[in-house]
């Protein structure tokens, strides 16, 4: 009861909280008053409002007026509780995408920010920078844009937020000269992300940055000239911890894993048990393994049933001095992750249980498979349909068939429970399986990229 009633009238309090701690020139004549936004300047977290005001107050800069009206429009939104931007079409010479155009619906009140387009610029994988390149980007954006930069967008772009149509071209040209290129927007291949991985993480099972650049740079046309049925995203995580959320937020997720046994240092295991205690170890490691693949021996050493282990990472995360991934490294590929539009949220489906990623040939194979999936998508998806929806619509058997991938039990939680299927060719299909097993060693995975 208490909380509810609070919820009821907290609306009022809302206004009172915070307050403007910045002592900025809110009142001054030529600047829009921003009483609501001002309340977002107090508090310990860095304030985007204070940043916007800094830009507004750089009177010598070309963007100052634009940012004054931008703040005016934003305050207007905070007052009306509505947004006031509409889309449109803006692009740079030679490209069809990469810009998110924004035209104000209240330009009459706030003319200087009537155009406020965003450039989506592809970052170096892993978001590595040196201060020099960051300063260069700032300088360019100070000359041709609003001075507002988001690091980074949820898809990984450097988002240069707020400029005119002319500014888009100028900013892009200079960024392009220092080695940056536009990312994706609209029905196109989108900007990608990869985790820090190889650069600084012991869990990493393949070179994420290399995989990302191998695929994306092989398909720049699909990024710059939107011609797909709908957006398509790649994401790369070095292990199943999935630090870039690839499984849900990528149409094509490459997630590192290993095929051989994990590495166990029994001395470190004992040290861990000695430090944490048996009961703690049992409850937090043994009992938390999703497949009961771990067993603690009476001498405080650990049994690992590597055949039952599903590479979830938990025990390695917990005992990362004692345990580590194996040596036969590569990645799983999951296809079809997306947010909820139309059919509901989808996680990616396991399509390639294992693809070795070590040699040039391995990466070439990955590149070819990525291209094959993009082509499938271009040819088979309905308008505004994500590949996950296509898979869901035509079913996994038809999807695998189209890609020439053999069914593998790793693709499913479990085989069908419904008897509603025509199985008169079951025996032939079984023969194919036995033939495959006879010929190939590493199951469905290998086939995938062939």
């Amino acid at each position: 009861m208490a909380d509810k009633s609070k919820t009821e009238d907290a609306g009022k309090d809302g206004g009172k909280e915070g307050g403007c701690g910045s002592g900025c020139g809110c009142a001054s004549a030529n600047k829009h008053a921003t009483p609501r936004l001002d309340q977002l300047e107090g508090g310990p977290w860095p304030s985007f409002v204070t940043g916007l005001k800094r830009l507004r107050d750089s009177d010598d800069k070309q963007y100052a007026p634009m940012m004054n009206d931008l703040l005016g429009q934003l305050e207007h939104s905070y007052t009306e509780r509505l947004g006031f931007w509409k889309g449109g079409t803006v692009s740079v010479f030679g490209y069809g995408g990469g810009i998110i155009p924004r035209f104000s619906e209240v330009a009459d009140k706030f003319p200087a920010s009537k155009e406020f387009h965003t450039l989506r610029v592809m970052p170096p994988p892993g978001f590595h920078y040196n201060t020099e390149v960051l300063r260069n980007i700032c300088d360019i954006w100070e000359r041709h844009g609003s001075g507002l930069i988001a690091l980074h967008g949820q898809s990984g772009d450097i988002m240069l937020q707020g400029t005119t149509t002319a500014g888009c071209q100028k900013a892009f040209d200079e960024l392009n000269e220092i080695g940056f290129d536009l990312g994706g927007a609209g029905p196109a291949l989108r900007t990608s992300m990869s985790c820090v991985g190889h650069a600084r993480c012991e869990m990493s099972n393949y070179d994420e940055a290399r995989a990302l650049r191998t695929i994306l740079n092989d398909n720049v046309g699909e990024i710059h000239r939107p011609a797909l049925p709908y957006k398509f995203k790649f994401k790369f995580s070095g292990c199943p911890n999935d630090c870039v959320n690839a499984i849900h937020r990528a149409d094509f997720a490459v997630i590192g894993t290993w095929r051989d046994d994990m590495k166990v240092d029994q001395q470190e295991v004992k040290a861990y048990v000695a430090k944490q205690g048996r009961k703690y170890t049992i409850d937090h490691v043994i009992a938390m393994c999703p497949t009961r693949a771990l067993s603690l021996n009476d001498d405080d050493t650990l049994d690992v049933d590597n055949k039952s282990c599903v590479r979830c990472m938990h025990c390695i995360n917990v005992m990362h001095k004692a345990l580590a991934p194996g040596d036969d490294k590569g990645a799983s590929i999951l296809i079809g992750g997306k947010r909820s539009l139309k059919v509901g949220d989808l996680m990616g489906t396991m399509i390639v249980p294992f693809m070795k990623l070590e040699t040039d040939a391995d990466y070439a194979k990955l590149k070819a498979f990525a291209r094959q999936v993009i082509d499938f998508f271009a040819d088979n998806a309905l308008e505004h349909e994500r590949v996950g929806e296509t898979l869901d619509r035509i079913g996994l058997p038809a999807f695998l068939d189209a890609l020439g991938i053999e069914p593998d039990p790793n693709m499913v939680k479990h085989p069908r429970t419904s008897s509603y299927v025509r199985t008169d060719d079951f025996t032939e299909e079984a023969e194919k399986y036995f033939a495959r097993r006879g010929l190939r060693k590493d199951g469905g995975a290998k086939d995938a990229a062939e």
């Binding site: 860095p46 940043g51 010479f93 170096p124 994988p125 960051l134 937020q161 139309k342």
Partner: protein
């Protein structure tokens, strides 16, 4: 090879030829910007530890070490903020930084002795040091009123308000395990899944501006966007427009982006909902989507106190009760949803019962029960 030479040598900005043909250089090579120790030990790290909140120590197989200091940012940064971070990196760091999936910035240094000064400088300049290990990291957020064309609220403002409240949990590592919070400023939900997610939830069918539909909207494709086939073409006072069957409409807003005259937002009807238990990692349990816990919270700028209140309740119920390594959803799977609603003092209603396609798969079809 996939390397593009163009990307390797930064050229002095020249007066752009008009029209200038783009160099389709694609994704730049990160090695050129990477800290030398990371480049040297690329792919050869052995283990890591956290000397203190906000600081990571990674040890390479070569024996090399690198220390990382992580700090929070507002993501939407003005150039002055970015330059200030560069100054700190040049003065106290080694000129190399990276950003994380969650818009935190990381400063890499070769030796621990540089760490204290770095932390001091960052803290003085108002950049909270933390976000590592069992902390509440930066909330991943989206565009909102600041830039999007379809927002129901302002993500940056919601995040700033919440991070002010969570500052303490960001700079210390006091949670059962790492906590991931997300926000989204419309139901499309660019922010994705989170241990706790604060998302816009529309509560009324779109109000149609019939005069504009004809010119602005490609009617067949709008009809096609509706997940429940609630939209049909219609002539309204002589003009070609669209009609919505309000009995069917699930207020999802999918018709709005392709057809702005189908106004899904209003100051009153656009609300916020809170979801819990989303998870992307495969650690222990499989990745899961977040689940609805509270809907119909007022969209109350500039500080959304009702949202803060609920987030606090959920987060601290979790903090008190969860075991180490249990993510929000795993904690609830263990204690059960009945106890979750008890401990948080929140209400369980008919709206929590799934009615979407495949709802059957979310029902308790077992005798497993909790009291």
């Amino acid at each position: 090879m996939t390397e593009t030479t163009a990307s390797l040598t930064p050229a002095k900005p020249a007066a752009p030829p008009k029209p200038r043909k783009p160099i389709e250089s694609g994704v730049p090579d990160p090695l050129q910007y990477m800290h030398p120790i990371m480049r040297k030990n690329y792919g050869n790290w052995a283990w890591h530890e956290r000397p203190r909140p906000g600081v990571l120590r990674h040890v390479a197989k070569s024996g090399d070490e690198i220390f990382t200091v992580r700090a929070g940012t507002q993501r939407q940064m003005d150039v002055y903020t970015i330059r200030k971070l560069c100054d700190i990196a040049d003065k106290h760091g080694e000129g190399h930084v990276r950003f994380t999936t969650r818009s935190n910035i990381e400063f890499m240094v070769a030796a621990f002795d540089k760490v204290p000064a770095l932390i001091k400088a960052l803290t003085e300049e108002g950049f909270p040091v933390g976000g590592t290990g069992n902390s509440v990291s930066m909330i991943s957020h989206t565009q909102g009123w600041l830039h999007c064309d379809i927002p129901g609220t302002d993500a940056s403002g919601v995040v700033k308000s919440l991070m002010d409240m969570l500052h303490k949990e960001f700079i210390q590592e006091d949670m059962p395990t790492r906590v991931r919070i997300t926000t989204s400023c419309c139901q499309i939900n660019c922010g994705g899944q989170g241990d706790i997610s604060i998302n816009v939830q529309y509560t009324k069918p779109p109000k149609i501006d019939h005069d504009r539909v004809g010119n602005v909207c490609e009617r067949p494709s709008v009809v096609a966007r509706c997940p429940v086939a609630a939209i049909r073409p219609a002539m309204v006072n002589g003009k070609p427009s669209l009609e919505v069957d309000e009995k069917k409409c699930v207020c999802c807003g999918a018709c709005y982006p392709p057809c702005p005259p189908m106004q899904i937002n209003s100051a009153e009807s656009t609300k916020l909902a809170i979801w819990v238990g989303g998870k992307h990692s495969n650690a222990r349990s499989k990745p899961t989507f977040h689940k609805l816990v509270v809907a119909n919270l007022p969209n109350n700028p500039p500080r959304w106190p009702e949202v803060e209140d609920i987030v606090r309740k959920i987060l601290y119920a979790y903090k008190e009760d969860a075991k180490h390594w249990e993510r929000m959803g795993e904690w609830i799977d263990r204690i059960g949803w009945p106890r979750f609603f008890e401990k948080t003092g929140l209400a369980f209603t008919k709206h929590h019962l799934d009615t979407w396609v495949g709802a059957r798969h979310t029902m308790n079809m077992s005798a497993h029960v909790r009291f």
